[in-house]
């Protein structure tokens, strides 16, 4: 259905959720959020900010510094420093009173509503929000497992992996080969692998112009394909060899000790091998028993789990319908979820969800492109309503403006996540 103001005002009594307000003296309602990325940090901040201290919010996040996966390709390309993409949780604690716990959540007892931490701590909750991002599917790429990630980094969880990949690119021999094993759908950040290829090409064009780039891809096409292909032809002619499904790009294996990549039976020696395996919901979603297959199905109206109305799953880990797995999507979903959770716990007004997404990508210096869409909640899923995409052949001025806009977005979403 399409929501409008009349819809929700007209049925106001129905949409204001029955409050789970604890009697005076029993203490405040408790929300535990697991995962401090674009979904979790945003949800924690909005619930704490909008409830004005009325809800106890605990954010469980193992890392003290969050390195955003979004814009990490720009670090690889030399457009950002590692510090530019690193952020801490101090303001969430200081300005919003969020209890920030740097630990791993290792167990969820949904019947008892208890989360257990690796350090032995126990957190009770009235509502649990899981936003754990992604993990990798075991055995997705022959010859690769997590123990090989230093030889063949994924760099798809930003931080030390991204720094490692950048160092490996810098150390490539003259005329060497950078290979990427691209992931199958669905995965985090659909244009991400191809923006990464662009940024690697940008670096190598300047420092190692006879180097080659190979992409083995299990997909027949990819996000913003026409835009990337045009950009690669314009900026990096002859440098990038994309091998799609049709040419065996999905039939790959690697040997991390020998540093070889085999595509459809042909073995190639490579100097850097960036293996981005198939993905699944972050492990705690599976531990909590809210996954079905690789992802956690949710209700479109409030991102609540289809397995448990008191558990919500945000961002990459969720299976919600048409939204891409992106930071923008997770941030958008977090606000709808925060509004619903606050309403359920305090009786505050619950508004219909509003979902939207935009993904910017950088192809070369000053050559930015974007794709975006709006979405609505239906009974079945989050469904796409309307969208746009940059067009091939746009002016350099427009592409520059698009890049500058992406920088503004980055500053905006970081402020929206971390306060």
């Amino acid at each position: 259905m399409t929501w409008n103001r009349r819809t929700f005002l007209g049925t106001g009594a129905a949409v204001v959720a029955a409050p789970h307000v604890l009697a005076e003296g029993q203490g405040k309602s408790r929300v535990v959020v697991i995962g401090g990325g674009a979904g979790g940090a945003t949800a924690a901040r909005y619930i704490a900010k909008d409830s004005e201290g009325g809800i106890d919010v605990t954010l469980v996040e193992p890392t003290r510094t969050y390195f955003s996966c979004f814009f990490s390709n720009l670090y690889l390309g030399g457009f950002k420093t590692i510090d530019d993409i690193g952020h801490t949780y101090g303001a969430l604690a200081a300005a919003h009173g969020i209890n920030v716990v740097h630990d791993w959540a290792v167990e969820v007892d949904r019947a008892g509503k208890i989360v257990t931490l690796a350090g032995g701590g126990v957190l009770e909750y009235d509502k649990l929000i899981l936003s754990p991002g992604i993990d990798f599917v075991d055995g997705a790429v022959g010859g690769w497992d997590i123990s090989a990630q230093n030889r063949m980094p994924h760099a798809y969880k930003a931080g030390s992996q991204t720094e490692l990949l950048k160092a490996q690119i810098a150390a490539m021999p003259e005329g060497g080969t950078y290979a990427m094993v691209a992931p199958p759908n669905p995965y985090r950040c659909p244009p991400g692998p191809y923006e990464r290829i662009s940024m690697v090409a940008h670096v190598l064009k300047a420092s190692n112009p006879t180097a080659k780039i190979i992409v083995a891809d299990p997909k027949p096409k990819f996000s913003k394909m026409a835009l990337f292909e045009e950009g690669w032809a314009n900026h990096y002619p002859g440098m990038i060899d994309w091998i799609g499904e049709e040419f065996g790009g999905g039939n790959v294996s690697v040997d991390p000790d020998a540093m070889t990549l085999t595509i459809d039976g042909d073995e190639t020696a490579v100097d850097v091998c960036n293996v981005i395996p198939a993905m699944k919901a972050g492990r705690i979603a599976e531990v909590a028993g809210v996954t079905d297959g690789n992802w956690a199905p949710v209700n479109a109206a409030d991102m609540s789990s289809k397995a448990d109305p008191d558990v919500h799953v945000l961002g990459d880990a969720s299976q919600q319908g048409d939204m891409p797995k992106s930071a923008f999507s997770a941030n958008s979903q977090a606000k709808a979820c925060a509004n619903a959770v606050r309403g359920a716990l305090t009786g505050s007004k619950v508004f219909p969800p509003r979902y939207s997404n935009t993904c910017w990508s950088l192809i070369a210096a000053g050559d930015g492109v974007k794709v975006g869409a709006t979405y609505e909640a239906t009974e079945e899923k989050i469904a796409r309503v309307d969208g746009f995409i940059s067009q091939p052949g746009e002016s350099t001025e427009l592409r520059q403006a698009t890049y500058e806009e992406s920088e503004g977005w980055y500053a905006g979403i970081i402020a929206d996540m971390f306060g």
């Binding site: 103001r5 958008s332 939207s356 975006g372 746009f388 992406s406």
Partner: protein, 113 residues
């Protein structure tokens, strides 16, 4: 819908902020500017804006939207909604906002400094 034009002062504010398309000049029913916005509703709706625009009013690469006069805010949003002011994201976002929703956003952002 009345085919009255945009108020001149508001139109000037719109033009100062961005380019326009070659589409037919838009119309804005003066009654739209009299809608009283619900700031609480606007605060929720603002979540969609604040993924990009800064609540603290800082602007770098993306314009400031806090502290606007409501008439200017409403006029600008309707210029996007009618695809007269060019920007694909803003046309998309404004395109699905109702007149009441735009008024609610204007009421909320007016007092955000």
């Amino acid at each position: 819908m009345c085919r009255a034009g945009f108020a001149l002062t508001a139109l000037a504010a719109v033009l100062a902020g961005g380019s326009v398309t070659g589409n037919e000049a838009p119309s804005l029913d003066p009654a739209i500017l009299t809608i009283e916005g619900d700031a609480e509703w606007g605060e929720y709706l603002a979540g969609e804006c604040l993924t990009c625009h800064r609540a603290d009013g800082l602007a770098e690469g993306i314009p400031r939207i806090t502290g606007w006069e409501p008439d200017d805010f409403v006029t600008a949003m309707h210029a996007y909604k009618q695809n007269w002011r060019s920007h694909p994201i803003m046309q998309m976002v404004a395109g699905r906002l109702s007149d009441e929703e735009i008024a609610a956003l204007a009421a909320y952002f007016k007092d955000l400094e």
